[in-house]
Symmetry: C2
Subunit: 184 residues, 2 copies
């Protein structure tokens, strides 16, 4: 069933705006990391950019029937600095989503009994928790002048779950099969 309540719809639009801007800045920071020779940090940014696209896509589709033009208010991090600084920007954005934004949006969706939005916010919240950890690992490496080490990064196309090296048999967030993960 499409979203019925104005407040949950508003939060879906804000979350869509936030995810769209996160997707874009991770592509920008990823390209910069690659240019500076941090190839895996660049890949991590691009893989997580794809995960944010999955979140934006999910939120947009829950809004199906809410057609039209809206002014969207959404949080975003700005700035181009060193790799360590850009990774700090990424960590700050993820932590805001984990600690403040998605818990409130999820709580609202439950309160307004919006099952579709609840699912979409839950997927994003759980995926962001992994993103914050991965960006922190990349930042710890970058602080020592190193690139983060992994063979590949894999992203669940249903919920945005992100994992370095081998994907799990079943996505721990949404249950999607290993074969569905998209590799970077």
């Amino acid at each position: 069933m499409p979203v019925q309540n104005a407040m949950t719809a508003d939060f879906l639009r804000s979350a869509y705006g936030g995810e769209s801007m996160a997707h874009m800045r991770y592509l920008i920071w990823g390209n910069l990391a690659e240019k500076e020779g941090f190839k895996n940090t660049g890949r991590l940014f691009k893989a997580i950019a794809y995960a944010e696209q999955v979140h934006a896509d999910n939120h947009f589709k829950e809004l199906k029937v809410q057609q039209g033009d809206y002014t969207v208010a959404a949080g975003a991090v700005f700035g181009i600095g060193t790799i360590v600084e850009n990774l700090q920007g990424a960590i700050n954005g993820e932590l805001h989503e984990i600690e403040q934004m998605y818990p409130v949006y999820l709580n609202t969706a439950k309160f307004q009994e919006e099952k579709g939005a609840e699912r979409s916010f839950h997927f994003a919240l759980e995926a962001e928790k992994v993103h914050a950890i991965l960006f922190k690992q990349a930042q710890d490496a970058a602080k020592a002048g190193n690139d983060i080490q992994f063979e590949s990064v894999n992203v669940c196309p249903v919920c945005g779950h992100t994992v370095t090296d081998e994907a799990p048999d079943k996505c721990p967030i949404c249950g999607a099969k290993k074969e569905m993960y998209k590799g970077f």
Copy 2:
């Protein structure tokens, strides 16, 4: 020189938000068009999604020194409908940028003597004019049940200028060479 004035910086952030959301919804609508067998309409959406990425990238980079977290207010179109309806959503968004948003942002950048922002807003405004025409062509075809006809779509990676079939020797907006155009 990086942006100095708070109002121009605010408009760069809003434009970044609007472009990031446009990029995302064109990817979504492009995938839906492809699934319905409108392959070229899908390619057009994806090519223009890339052009919006160029605009977002330009705006973000003009904000270089304005690091930190912001709440961004930005216009966006929502809704998933028929191909003709989605193309109307795209046309509406482009026309708002052409007739209202970018003229005001450009006028402000000139008034505040922000050369970098002026360039970034000018590039976007001129590219959006072509986007509105191309989406209208695709919509006219879709209304008759047909897919828009072309061999390729080419996008200037500097300003987002978009052209079906052969790229011009020099980009009419920014002067970039034909060889730089990205094909879709």
